[in-house]
Symmetry: C2
Subunit: 276 residues, 2 copies
């Protein structure tokens, strides 16, 4: 009865942006490396007239449906249609909304797009993002004192993406590149040690990264920047700085930005006590 | 039997970062504005020894459990424990992993943290992020030609957060601030029109934003920058530029960054055909 196939197809429908379903399917897809998980996203579907053609198409193509509807009518319509036509349907918000409703004897708002509500928390996040962009690469040491987190590291220790990722979670992050030849700005010694994180990386990974970067710049890849001795010198210098500042050190090797960011938040006791 | 309560408590457990459960609970929480949805996150739970104490705590506190386990043993253990002790348990990945397994007659990898795998797509995203930070505020017009998207707009039209948000999805984004007194860089006229997006905003929102910004700078908030006539002049100038460049215009007023970003991708035909 079950035919082996190398493709699974999903329609991701939402009455808002639908980022949650995209992320969910990514998490599922990576568990099946040999399989083609085809996804098509349909954001801002807020009326029956827009929903029905998508359901009909799913019936024809055999696509499964994963949704984040907060509007009851849409959820009901999709659910009924899919049940009648043998289509897989999963509104990932539904069971949790039911649960909270039951706990609290309260009805949900049913307003789509509320996750991105333009409230204080939202503006805090936006201003954290702007702060991170402005304070990348140690541009304004005098603003270190405004930061929740200051990341330090030599070239290619993921300072920029980490700063941005943490900013997305509402933290104001500055970063300071470490270069043995440059003088450390005085301001770094005035920052609360608890706000400092020293980043490091494995020497072979740094070497590979840097060679690639030089190649992309069209420079001879065997230059000073990617030299093993040079990298060792930089790492040693960074370690000396971290010792002087007495800050924790995180090695970013073999860790994704998301993983390192989570580690940083755990280090700073922002997790798990703060559910963000 | 059901007692009315103003709190719902959740433990969010993952064998990886667990961002998905955090986002999911945010989406649920915003539907219940008067209710306190308390969440505690437990990332990187990869062994029974770490899982059991959390389950026991949930039993004591009456917390619900939402998880993203890809490891079968952990999912099974949590599921059994919760069923036996009357705890709500929802592994949001489980039904979809089952479905794809069934479709394709393939077993999942069960490797945690695979969403953030250090593969080509991951590095593409990181380099897009770095590109966006470097090319904020029109810093290098000569690099516009490398961008997938170039955003234009006067001050306070969300250019920076939009650039970063789109970069997170893997697009290389540059942005150019529009100021009537500044000469437009020649390079903007060499960019493919399909890559350009003109941002605009409502005059009263701009006024409010700018007054706040001036206040935060400690400057008299009734200065030129927040003057209605001045803003009108800037908006008119921007519209003239957009007409010359023949680029689409998106009004960011009353839209979150996520919503505007999704609109931009739809405009550029990156959505819904490209499921990202």
């Amino acid at each position: 009865m079950t035919q082996r196939s190398h493709t699974s197809e999903f329609y991701l429908i939402s009455d808002a942006v639908g980022q949650l379903t995209v992320d969910l399917l990514k998490s599922v897809a990576v568990q099946f490396p040999g399989i083609n998980i085809k996804t098509t996203t349909y954001p801002f579907v807020q009326h029956e007239d827009n929903l029905l053609p998508i359901l009909e198409k799913a019936k024809q193509t055999g696509a499964h449906i994963v949704a984040t509807f907060v509007k009851k009518e849409l959820d009901q319509l999709a659910n009924d249609y899919c049940q009648k036509n043998g289509i897989y349907y999963n509104n990932v918000l539904h069971p949790l909304i039911q649960l909270v409703s039951h706990d609290t004897q309260t009805s949900p708002d049913q307003k789509p797009g509320q996750r991105h509500l333009l409230n204080d928390q939202y503006y805090k996040r936006i201003s954290a993002l702007e702060f991170a962009v402005q304070n990348d690469d140690g541009r304004y040491p005098e603003r270190f004192k405004e930061a929740d987190i200051v990341l330090l590291g030599i070239s290619r220790t993921s300072k920029t993406p980490l700063s941005i990722f943490l900013a997305f979670q509402g933290y104001k992050v500055a970063n300071l590149p470490l270069v043995p030849e440059a003088k450390l700005p005085e301001e770094i010694f005035q920052v609360d040690t608890n706000k400092l994180i020293g980043l490091t990386n494995d020497i072979d990974i740094l070497n590979k990264f840097r060679r690639e970067r030089m190649r992309s710049y069209g420079v001879d890849e065997k230059g000073l920047y990617s030299d093993d001795n040079r990298i060792e010198k930089e790492l040693q210098y960074a370690n000396d700085v971290y010792e002087r500042l007495q800050c924790p050190i995180i090695n970013v090797a073999e860790r994704s930005i998301e993983e390192t960011a989570t580690l940083i938040l755990m280090f700073m006791n922002y997790l798990p006590t703060k559910g963000n």
